[in-house]
Amino acid sequence: MTTDNDEDRIARLLKQSLPPMGTQPGAKLQRDLWPAMLRRLDESSTAVPWFDWALLVAVVAWLAMFPQAIPVLLYHL
């Protein structure tokens, strides 16, 4: 069982080994991240969701297994 003293010693050692980042000079954001955010928003709007790909694969597989269904599908499109 760890005693309070042990805990305090390890906590002190930890603080000496890894000083707080929140008080370091680099803790302040150095640049505006909005342009990066806009890029991320653009990427996601052009990305095709995985379930669309899954649906496409399922349709292709279905047509490969039942080619006679192709005219029916074309008729309904």
Binding site: Q16, G22, L29, Q30, D32, L41, S44
Partner: protein, 179 residues
Amino acid sequence: MPTQEQPSEVLRQFCRGEIEAFESLFRQHQGEVYRWILRMVRDPAIAEDLTVETFWRIYKSHARFDPTRSFEAWARRIGSNAALDHLRSKPRETELPDEMPQAPQPDPGISQELRRKTAQAFERLPPKLRIAATLALIEEQPYAEVAGALGISTGAVKLRVFRALRVLRKHLRRQGIEP
């Protein structure tokens, strides 16, 4: 304790998915979210990427946000999850920089080598324990604030910190170090 306040117009607009409101909130809170994430991941470049990732998650969940609650607390919670996901995905054994940052008041009784080994042992802790110990012990954030950001109780934060110290001691002992 979540704050119940009159929602501002910008928060209401954000809930409706308006990009101008999102931009306004982004510009207002990016610095604070970045600093919170930096405390956990301890790398400015990664903290920047995770800040964008956090706001991306925020934007995706705009319809789920309750505008009577604190946006900052919500953002901090999402940021903590993003940091946790990052720590889970990266290998535990990472190279530490040659120049270790100095503690504000360095203890001359603790050698550079001991600091390095402690930092390495700390890197090997499970991410959940590491984040709780980082925020509560190293960054000295109030337990209640850490609990809010991690979505757990104050008691659970204390337990994680206690377990982190116990596992850390075990790792150090395995290296022949008696802390």
